[in-house]
Symmetry: C2
Subunit: 138 residues, 2 copies
DNA sequence: CTGTGTGCAAACACTTTGCAGGTGT
DNA sequence: ACACCTGCAAAGTGTTTGCACACAG
């Protein structure tokens, strides 16, 4: 039994081809994938809408998280901590987008530094996106 | 002569009603505005397309910068440093989005802390978005 | 007068919703 | 058997492009 099947079982989701394939796509890439990345990669096998719904399901369950990818597009990446659930997500790592190859990776090893907000502000969630050149393109 | 007219002159842009009104909208709000915010605020006076083009012109000239506003929407805010030009933008302040009122503000007083990327990564630009509750909503 | 800005129409990209039928458990 | 998942159609939203006319300099 592969990782995808295990994951689906673990989160009480039904085993379907689309879900397995999407999970496999994420586990076999180290970078974040957008909806259209998935569409290209999975070919014509699944409907655009089904992919949207599957992504939404995974985000709701705490399997994937949305990644800020410069202004505009939405990408998704696996939640690698156990701190994400259907209740809420908790991410404090940095996202790095390579301006050459366009890939966005989660740099789990770097935690977002704590900053002191001015009086009156309450922090709930912090996102940090670094853009530049990745080791592969350098 | 008001601020908007001065700004347009300074950047060698023609004086038009749309440009003045959009600049005035930004100088009279302390938070970032989206295209639809502007549409609502300016009423029916200008075409949707003209607003898009005006925003693009201002970003190109270094008058406005795009603000990452959670995943999805694009907002714009005034460039308050002199480090932005038609050549390139340079922002290192934190953006704060209030999850209650939905407003996004530039917190100019807080600079994004420097982080050390792993070997091989080259940093070009950094964006930081903090979400939580602003003083007004607290 | 000339080049740029604007409005209108249309195309395009992205995402969501409703419904009928198919599938996992 | 039943609830849930999928595909298809369609609509909603956000953004860009082409073209003709209007207007600032």
């Amino acid at each position: 039994m592969n990782i995808a099947r295990n994951t689906l079982k673990e989160y009480s989701l039904r085993q379907t081809g689309c879900r397995e394939d999407i999970l496999n796509a994420f586990t076999s890439h180290e970078y974040a994938l957008s909806h259209s990345d998935l569409e290209n990669q999975l070919g014509e096998r699944f409907d655009r809408v089904t992919i949207y719904r599957t992504l939404k399901t995974f985000v709701d369950k705490g399997i994937l998280h949305k990644v800020l990818d410069d202004v505009g597009g939405t990408k998704y990446a696996l939640c690698r901590t156990s701190e994400c659930s259907h209740e809420e997500h908790h991410h404090d790592h940095v996202h790095f987008k390579c301006t050459t190859c366009g890939n966005t990776t989660c740099i789990e090893s770097i935690h977002i530094p704590t900053i002191n907000l001015p009086q009156g502000y309450v922090r709930k969630e912090v996102n940090m996106l670094v853009q530049g050149v990745c080791p592969n393109c350098n």
